[in-house]
Amino acid sequence: MTEVLHETRLVVNGVPHTARVPARRLLADCLRHDLGLTGTHVGCEHGVCGACTVLVDGRPMRSCLLFAVGVDGAEITTVEGCRSPDGGLGPVQQAFQDCHGLQCGFCTPGFVTTITAWLAEHPDPTEEQARQAIGGNLCRCTGYQNIVASVLRAAELLKEGERP
């Protein structure tokens, strides 16, 4: 059986894309296979691990629990879109480097997207709030301590960036 293909438009990190995909194509797979954006990682594929988290119209969502056709027309931000305007590391990415917030790095894209969106609404977090904010993302390397530190460091970097 040949599957029906659906033309799907996505604006990913500000760049418009069109993909022809079967209805069952998960957004995570569309980003990786159809658009070649392999920064988004696919872990558990049932919404538990958080590695595939991307921002859909600014809100963190599991890209393994969305069909690409289901978000036709949406603006998607992946980890590739969390860099700074000059192409270097964005504030959350820089904080992960500063604080050793990753080891193998597999889970990191989901953390970076989740934390980027969360800090926009919570610019001055406590450690407890930072810990809760990453509750939906699993990391098997770090024990989370350095990721919590990275959240707090990213908040500092964002504030420094706002200063004239």
Partner: protein
């Protein structure tokens, strides 16, 4: 893991959605937020031939608050209802319970109505709807609409009263009477996991700040939410010194949990007692703040 192939329908109006569901019948499935359905598809535990995507039906994206109830349309996300100040003021139990649904990322996409239709025995919102005596609005092509009371809606684990061809268009959460407080308490091994046991409580105080009535609904301790009337244990007692443990004993006696890999039946029964006592006490304290706020 990849979902099995399906035919994708994207209706632009509710009548179009109902027509698609009528046409596909047993082979059709509604796709709302997909936070429970898509995992089932990815693991190939479900393989519907047709998916009817209702996310494009803006008319179902509503949270309406009036003097009687909060009415939540079929594609209103958990996060939206959780953040809605009017909904939280009218029915505080909504915000109290929704905060314990999975993680914020899941709540950004998952829907209130979808969670109710999914009828997971560990889900929070079915207990909220039962406790408040709410109802579901169902629509279908031809026959039109019907309303099902919460008490008749949850039939078993993952089984609700929605029939093939029907679409749940809204859930109605009635305001509790004045002087009533509420609380949600649950225990999970990690924040965001399915609750080993969860309890919603409603406590009404009389003018002398004594308990006039008290009720609870429990999750993860039966095939559907378990409602328990706690008034026999707490009625007539002071709002800050009632026999909360007696309320817990009533709840523990009312549930019939099963063993599974997460907890033994005995432990779940123990939790039912402890968490019901905590929830009732918190609801009484909340009732006091509601009365003070109204005065």
């Amino acid at each position: 893991m990849k979902p099995p192939a399906f035919a994708y329908h994207r209706p632009g109006t509710v009548p179009e959605a109902l027509a698609a569901l009528a046409e596909t019948g047993h082979d059709g499935k509604v796709l709302a937020g997909g936070q429970s359905l898509v995992p089932l598809l990815n693991m190939r535990l479900a393989a519907p031939a047709h998916l009817v995507d209702i996310n494009w039906l803006a008319e179902l994206d509503e949270v309406a608050v009036d003097d009687r109830a909060v009415r939540v349309g079929a594609i209103a996300r958990h996060a939206r209802v959780e953040r809605d100040p009017a909904a939280a003021e009218a029915v505080p139990l909504l915000r109290q319970a929704i905060g314990d649904i999975a993680h914020a990322t899941i709540r950004n996409r998952g829907t209130v109505v979808g969670s109710l239709v999914h009828a997971d025995p560990a889900a929070e919102l079915p207990a909220v709807l039962v406790l408040l005596g709410g109802s579901m609005e169902l629509a279908s092509a031809g026959d039109g609409a019907r309303k099902v009371a919460a008490a008749d809606f949850f039939l078993g684990p993952l089984e609700s009263a929605v029939r093939p061809g029907e679409l749940a268009t809204a859930a109605v959460f009635p305001r509790p009477p004045a002087g009533t407080g509420s609380a949600w308490v649950e225990l999970a091994r990690r924040a965001g996991d399915y609750a080993l046991c969860g309890v919603g409580a409603l406590v009404a105080l009389d003018q002398g700040l004594r308990v006039a009535s008290a009720r609870a609904a429990l999750i993860s301790v039966g095939p559907t939410p378990v409602p328990v009337d706690l008034t026999d244990a707490l009625g007539g007692q002071p709002h800050d010194a009632a026999d909360w443990a007696a309320a817990g004993r009533l709840a523990a006696a009312a549930v019939d949990p099963e063993d599974d890999i997460h907890a033994s039946a005995a432990y779940r029964r123990h939790l039912a007692g402890v968490l019901t006592a905590r929830a009732a006490r918190a609801a009484a304290a909340h009732a006091l703040t509601r009365q003070e706020g109204a005065a």
